[in-house]
Amino acid sequence: MLTRRVMLRGSAVVIAGAGAMPGWLARAAESADSPGARKKILIAIFQRGAADGLNIVVPFADKRYYEMRPTIAVPAPESGHSQNNGLIGQPAIDLDGHFGLNPALEPLKPLWDRRQLAIVEATGSPDPSRSHFDAQDYMESGTPGKSTSDGWLNRALPAATPETSPLRAISMGSQVARTLRGDRAAIAVNNAQTFQLGNQDTASILESMYSATHDARLSQPGKDAFAAMKMIRTVNQQQYTPAQGAQYQQGGELGRSLQQVARLIKANVGVEAAFAEVDGWDHHGNEANQLSNMLRQFGTALAAFSTDMGDRMQDIVLVTMSEFGRTAEENGNGGTDHGHGNVMMVLGGNVAGGKVYGQWPGLEREQLNEERDLAVTTDFRAVLSELVGGQLGQTDLPRVFPGYQAGTPLGLLRT
């Protein structure tokens, strides 16, 4: 078998295999060297369980927030606001005098200061469902109110050519998430070893088998599959030190996922879209502590990724979302129930950050959705459309979000 040592930017990747280096890999390697030709990357992060946006980005200037959350509200930043009512816990981190970050998201503050973090308030779906399952379904498929089997991010990818990398779309997890399911090939990457193909011999033999087969319909997917798998393995076998001292360890599962994504991006294998998820945001009781713990990991993971990618963040955008928000008022158990409007975060070097976007609907009873939840004033598809257009160059937005009429852009990206 022929072995080729290919120097890709930043890391040496050894490709063992019969025949020439795959075209897509050569193309990806080439473009890595010329930043102008480099593809941009969009990473979607789903917080499953309906994350409590009001306690994540705290509307501390709105007195109703404290009225409705006597025990679980995050205290206002220590700058003279006297609405704390003796709440326990660290104060919010002031962002702009109206909104603050939950203190557990402290690692994201530098991103805000560097204007690489934008926040969009009161976002969500026009569909009123408060079923986790349905709402996640609608958000991932990008068709609220209607179940579609493929996902918005998959539809956002341009059609594949023979040069398209099989690693163009990676879904962190044991299977490809709905967001990335569809016509365009996507691959699931597990933090543990997904592709247990027995020993190396078995894997090599299977690869030869699919290379040599006369079965036209199976040989191409076969070849792509092995190329992708080998690439991931090879990348992961390298020693990896995150750049600039980035620390993923305290970032939990998301930290591990984002580190894997970072490694693959840096290996220049042609990643353009990625998906990761964090479970467990459904805080019906004892929210304050649980949310803090989760946010600590969440913020650490995102910040570590950003630090690790360094200059390359210019080409990358991460967007966070959750299927709906939670009730504005706390319930009797120190928690909140299913709501509607929520917050989305957009991070990246090219993001017009340091600003809270969207129209704050207010928390007075008549301003709330069904008198209980934060209302939605920006459709989540508005945010995603802009990012899909700007990052993936997708101009056919009706294909990505059928039935959606885009309004005035928010201006989330600089260029």
Partner: protein
């Protein structure tokens, strides 16, 4: 080599021009006209009428004779069922229950935790006390609270809005303490109902439960009392848990009975597919369920948790009895099953003026179906076209069948009133007052006014006899059993049979199985196996012993075909392209290796059966015939026999049928 190339080339050209050429001359026969050699015919039949040959199946079919064997499969009542299957199915009691019992005994929501209910201020305090505490001055409030006994005060403090406490700092601590205590009580209650392993076992026992071998775990169980055994079994990691399916099931029944119902449903499907001797019936149940797809997770108001409990009955009572019967009977049974009535929303479809008539005569409340009891602003009132549309688009005529939007509306009108009785007994009922009694025109047929329930039956009559239906159903069957693009001539002949026999599905299948196309080169290995088919055929081919289906179910889901999990009514695709994603193919390959090396929880494979055999021999064992030369070449020089088997199961050949 050259000859077959020439044949392929000619066949390709011939296939393209076949319809025209065959009219004029007996030109070179196309692939669908070229009969398979005898040894391949047996394999073809096994690949198509079953979920894949088991060791010994090829010999059995040869012994019985091909035509006779096919005829037997078309009459499953003549085939003695496998005793292994019956033993394996025994523990899954919900498979045999009617849905009313299942709803009652398994699907009740967990009892609301009493603590979750905030104490009602109205019952706690007298009116005077309440006035003082809620609306009085700070002085009055203080006095009232001080006068209460501490227990009562605690409850009141828990429920009072915080603004009322603002000027009473001396009670703030008490209020905080009360809240904390309540939270702790709740957590304790949750823990008691759902104890983690830490509450059940000593640390060294936990280590065994989490990481021990099945033998060690068994020894641990012998030490525990029965109740604890069940609780621990339910919390074992999947790999080990699969070794104790009985205990784990007990745990599930106690903790999460709803999950038991879903679990049983999948066990039934998988075990039957693997073990049943009445294979064609199983293949047909899979096909027709998919044709009349419903989604397990359908969200129905007032039936949110219970919908999934209906699927067992749907498959068993509405689909299975009719797969070899008349299409119109299948159509009716499906339409009247609550699973379909809910899934396509027909249960709440009603005439626009139905509400007005609720006030009148025998249909005044409280005789009203719960379909109309919902608050008006939450429940759509009026016609719901969903079932009407899908009935024609997906169930009968097909999207190009020639119906119009107006037909959709008219059909929907015919089915108004076809609904369910009530949430815990959702059997079919026809409710007059929901029904649109006007005259309707469906596909050119006039349906007289005031037909009541007969309107719907007339629609079925029209659809079941429509040529478009005959054609659509025939094509779908041909796609499943012959090729992704079945020859139009075959589909036409099947459609003729359909129309001539009043939709006798057995007759249509007979036409298909007896056709030259079915046993032709064109149909040979023409289908890509779906994930379910791939997994089941691997279990059958390797003679695997399937004891627990949890891991298998997860695998099939990971490969892209979650059982009972297709959201859209069109079901999973009948053609192969959907299954060829990068991740999917690697998933199949990793399953192949895991299966043969004993790494699939709940499944045991005896790899010694392949000892001493080379790749060619093993391929004959698993595929029923020798693998392609390229495949065998890639395998040699050979690894160990178990690996050989894994490689064959992972081969392109094995992924086709």
């Amino acid at each position: 080599m050259k000859r077959s190339l020439l044949l392929v080339a000619t066949a390709t050209i011939a296939a393209a021009t076949l319809p025209f050429l065959s009219l004029f001359a007996a030109g070179t026969p196309g692939p669908f006209e070229t009969r398979l050699p005898p040894d391949r015919r047996v394999i073809q039949v096994l690949n198509r009428l079953t979920f894949g040959p088991r060791p010994g199946d090829v010999e059995e079919v040869r012994r019985i004779g091909l035509e006779k064997w096919i005829d037997l499969q078309l009459h499953p009542e003549r085939i003695p069922e496998s005793p292994v299957l019956e033993t394996r199915l025994e523990p899954y009691e919900t498979l045999r229950m009617d849905f009313v019992t299942v709803l009652k005994d398994y699907m009740q929501p967990q009892p609301a935790m009493a603590m979750l209910q905030a104490p009602n201020l109205n019952t706690l305090m007298s009116q005077e006390e309440r006035r003082k505490v809620m609306n009085g001055t700070a002085e009055e409030r203080r006095a009232a609270l001080v006068a209460m006994d501490p227990e009562k005060r605690k409850q009141v403090l828990l429920t009072m809005p915080p603004t009322n406490l603002e000027s009473l700092p001396e009670f703030k601590q008490e209020a905080d303490d009360a809240r904390k205590a309540q939270q702790q009580q709740m957590q304790a209650e949750v823990r008691k109902r759902n104890p983690p392993l830490e509450d059940l076992l000593a640390p060294e026992q936990i280590a065994i439960a989490r990481n021990g071998s099945p033998e060690q775990v068994k020894a641990l169980f012998d030490e525990l009392d029965p109740e604890k055994r069940v609780q621990v079994a339910f919390r074992l990691p999947p790999q080990v848990g699969a070794e104790f399916p009985g205990l784990r099931r007990e745990g599930m029944r106690a903790q999460q009975p709803q999950q038991l119902v879903s679990s049983d449903l999948r066990a039934g499907k998988l075990l039957r597919a693997v073990y049943s001797n009445q294979q064609l019936e199983e293949v047909l149940v899979d096909f027709w369920f998919n044709h009349f797809n419903v989604y397990e997770g359908k969200s129905v108001q007032n039936a949110a948790l219970s919908y999934r409990a209906l699927l067992t009955s749907y498959e068993r009572d509405a689909i299975r009895p009719h797969v070899l019967g008349h299409f119109k009977d299948l159509l009716l049974a499906v339409a009247q099953h609550p699973a379909m009535l809910y899934y396509l929303d027909n249960w709440q479809s009603m005439a626009p003026d139905a509400d007005d008539r609720l006030q009148v005569g025998p249909f005044a409340r409280p005789f009203v179906s719960y379909a109309v009891q919902q608050p008006p602003n939450r429940q759509p009132h009026g016609l719901n076209e969903n079932y009407g549309r899908e009935l024609m688009e997906l169930h009968t005529m097909g999207v190009n069948g020639g119906y119009t939007q107006q037909d959709v509306i008219e059909v929907a009108r015919c089915f108004t009133g076809w609904t369910v009785r009530k949430p815990n007994d959702p059997g079919f009922i026809f409710l007059d007052f929901m029904h649109d009694e006007g005259e309707k025109t469906v596909l050119g047929h006039k349906i007289a006014a005031n037909g009541g329930e007969k309107d719907g039956l007339q629609v079925f009559d029209i659809l079941a006899h429509h040529p478009a239906t005959a054609h659509f159903i025939s094509k779908q069957l041909a796609q499943r059993f012959v090729a992704d693009e079945p020859p139009p001539a075959l589909v036409d002949r099947m459609a003729q049979t359909f129309l001539k026999t009043d939709g006798d599905l057995r007759a249509v299948l007979q036409t298909m199985f007896a056709s030259q196309e079915f046993l032709s080169e064109g149909a040979w290995q023409a289908k890509i196996k779906s994930p379910f088919e791939m997994v089941v055929s691997a279990l059958r081919a390797t003679g695997a012993d399937t004891l627990d289906i949890g891991a298998l179910n997860q695998k099939i889901s990971d490969l892209g075909e979650p059982l009972y999990g297709k959201v859209e009514p069109n079901g999973y695709p009948l053609t192969g392209d959907a299954w060829l994603g990068t991740a999917d193919l690697l998933g199949r390959l990793s399953f192949a290796t895991a299966l043969v090396t004993g790494k699939v929880a709940g499944v045991k494979v005896d790899a010694t059966r392949w000892d001493g055999k080379d790749a060619a021999a093993i391929s004959r064992d698993l595929l029923g015939r020798q693998a392609a030369p390229e495949t065998l070449e890639a395998i040699s020089p050979g690894p160990a026999p178990a690996s050989l088997a894994a490689l064959i199961i992972g081969s392109p050949e094995f992924n086709r049928r």
